[in-house]
Amino acid sequence: MKKLLTILVMMALLMVAGCSKTTLTGTAPEDTGKQAILLVSFGTSYEDTRALTIDALEDKYKEAYPDYEVLEAFTSQIIIDLLKERDHIEIYNVEEAFNYLKDNKFAHVVVQPTLIMNGAEYDEMLAVVEAEKENFVELKLGNPLLSQSEDYEAVVESLRVEIEPKMATENEAVVFMGHGTHHFANATYPALEYYFHDAGMKNVFIGTVEGYPTVDDVIERLNENGITKVTLYPFMLVAGDHATNDMSGDEEGSWKTMLKKEGFEVETVLRGLGEDAGVQALYLEHTEEAINAEMLEAE
């Protein structure tokens, strides 16, 4: 009888133990020499554009850093959940990616956000990274795309080849659609427009879906500058939902339709920034800077 009771108690204990998550001990991280680069993106549910942008970038990293394991995480839990439920694709969020790295005893980790700016997504990611730094021998962090003045200049120059032919006359403009944010980093967008203008591309205008400048602000700029023809590009890593529907969709609320209704001749280019070789190179550069930098200071 005692045996039966013992077995039952043990089974119950095992079940409870099986449900609990691995917890970390407070010991110092062991230097196993294992290295990883964690690419953190907002994410997209659009399979085909993901292949051309996020996955292409991941391939570049694998090629450039053969001694590192390269893995990806998304910051958008909505997209992660959607991909899991709809497509049965498991993608880590940032916490889960760190759990993987810890469980597999990675000691040297570089986190490279493929975000555009140091906005809300970046802040949230940073909080997770900060909390993890004592669990690794080295934990380093690369900058998002537009972090320093040189980054803006590099992106503007990288895009010049693509967009200058779209502004062959003074009546032709290029409009980039950025996402926009409530975060103070939204100022990145008007700042970027300044950089384009300073680089001699006066007819480049930046608008956002959810921040400032709005599409109405952009239309005002276009009218002020006597523009008659507009080429629309997404200023987003991927040409996903916003680019496909909000920018170039045929529906009445899309930027393309709104601009046409105002009498502009409109062309759209569905090309995520992640497809641009210069942008890819800039992310790699940011990672290289992070690798060569000092480790994040432990508090």
Binding site: L8, Y46, R86, K229, D241, T244, D250, K261, E265
Partner: protein, 482 residues
């Protein structure tokens, strides 16, 4: 002696407890499978698609439907008042969106406390969240799981909905009308000799297609298409999704005249751009000829009466010369806004807009689908009017938060100019053409460009006369000269 007795009781107790615990799910399901000795005690008896025998004393009057197709069909059976709750992914009819929504991922108590006398689910819900469904059943609610897995099961599915709700006659009528429409559509396409080769992509994830017995495959056939991916096994029993893969699609690329991509399952589905950028797809005939039809799964794979709508859409796209005809508007009478909505969608060969549930959750700018006070869902031109407005071809008006289309008002020349400019690409020629009445028009820039491009001519006084009415014949003449 006392000690032995205690041990024995404890042993028996534990064994009974263990047995009950292990056998509980089987017992619960098994009890429902036991055939009743007499069915006369129950007015209604059906077997659902999970194998449960369902008994109802009287037709249900407090129904919660947790699947959008069930909801749509219940409304089609005139059960708007009896449906007291719906799922979270409803999109049709509009009245269903105003019902209280219940989430099968949330607390089942919410459904239980609404005291429905019938909860209709589908097997997916039970697979996805068995605890939720279990809780409903254990609370004593009548839970029915229905899902017609293929085209053949649609009729029995509708009849069972009718039986449970006392709407057998309505169900029969609806099915008879539906079958008549299907037969009519088939009669229009069956004589087509040279059939277009169609590849149907059910999902862009893993590049799957459908099995031969699926609703989509039947729709292609009735629409006069020739499915180029046939004889495939389903990914799992009970599914109509069949694996195919990128390489296979490319291999049969020369047979694919039209590429149909199903959209709408949680935002899934390829579009023209995403499909055209796939490696190797430039060799596919449909991609080369830009014949990619994006179609909402609600009208092609969902078990509702709107399947006919999906078939008509395919017919328009497969054979535009036969089924996208707008010659009925070629008359010397002023075009109404209703007729222009039809003409504009047909001329542009624009697929009709069918909203998904997420459409109604998003903020929108301009018109919201289904919200015109003067165009109802029962209107024959409902989808064409909605599509024309949502495409920006023609505008409605908002008056005190209510939207109106004014279908019987007449089209002006300025309205036509706005449509033409939206549809085609025109360059600003800056020829300095003087249009005397230009400053009267909201769309001055558009009018100026179209006059410069020779689309419209000015009268002898150099006026555009944008307020003039346009006849169908005049509009078609201008459109065909573009």
């Amino acid at each position: 002696m006392k000690q032995v007795s205690y041990k024995l009781i404890l042993k028996i107790f534990l064994l009974v407890l263990l047995t009950l615990f292990i056998a509980r799910p089987y017992m619960e399901k098994g009890l429902s499978h036991v055939p009743t000795v007499s069915t006369s005690d129950y007015a209604i008896e059906i077997v659902d698609d999970a194998g449960y025998k369902i008994h109802l004393d009287k037709p249900a009057t407090r129904i919660i439907s947790l699947y959008s197709a069930h909801t749509e069909n219940l409304f089609a059976l005139d059960l708007a008042d009896e449906v007291i709750g719906v799922g979270t992914a409803e999109s049709f009819p509009r009245a269903a969106l105003e019902k209280k929504a219940y989430d099968y991922n949330a607390d089942p108590e919410k459904v239980i406390s609404a005291q429905p006398d019938l909860v209709i689910i589908r097997p997916f819900i039970e697979r996805h969240n068995p605890a939720f469904v279990d809780a409903l059943r254990r609370s004593g609610l009548t839970v029915v799981s229905l899902y017609p897995e293929n085209a053949q099961e649609f009729e029995s599915y509708i009849m069972r909905l009718g039986q449970m709700t006392g709407r057998e006659k309505k169900a029969e009528q609806m099915l008879s009308k539906f079958n008549g429409e299907m037969a009519n559509l088939l009669s229009q396409t069956e004589a087509i000799d040279k059939r277009v080769g169609v590849y149907f992509e059910s999902s862009d994830r893993d590049y799957t297609t459908v099995t031969d017995d699926s609703m989509a495959a039947r729709a292609i056939e009735i629409a006069g298409g020739r499915n180029v991916a046939t004889g495939l096994e389903a990914v799992e029993k009970g599914s109509t999704i069949a694996p195919f893969g990128l390489e296979h699609i490319v291999e049969i690329g020369d047979q694919i005249d039209v590429f149909v991509t199903q959209r709408g399952v949680m935002g899934a589905g390829g579009n023209w751009h995403s499909i055209s950028i796939r490696p190797g797809f430039d060799t596919i005939k449909a991609i080369q000829e830009e014949r990619v039809l994006e179609i909402n799964q609600k009208i092609v794979s969902s078990p509702t009466f709107r399947q006919t709508l999906g078939i008509k859409e395919m017919m328009r796209y497969f054979y535009p010369d036969r089924f996208n005809d707008y010659s009925m508007y070629d008359k010397e009478v002023a075009l109404t806004r209703r007729d222009f909505a039809n003409l504009s969608v047909l001329y542009a060969q624009k697929p009709i807009f069918v909203p998904t549930s997420s459409y109604f959750n998003s903020e929108y700018r301009g018109h919201k689908f289904g919200y015109f006070e003067d165009i109802s869902e029962a209107d024959d031109d409902y989808y064409f009017v909605e599509t024309a407005v949502l495409s920006g071809y023609i505008e409605g008006e908002k008056v005190d938060q209510e939207e109106y289309f004014y279908p019987d008002e007449l089209l002006t020349k300025e309205d036509l100019a706005k449509y033409i400019f939206l549809l085609k690409d025109f360059s600003h020629l800056n020829q300095g053409v003087v249009i005397n009445d230009l400053d009267q028009y909201e769309s001055a820039r558009i009018i100026s460009v179209l006059v410069e491009n020779g689309v419209f001519e000015l009268d002898e006084s150099g006026n555009f006369n944008g307020d003039e009415l346009v006849t169908g014949a005049e509009a078609i003449k201008i459109l065909e000269q573009l």
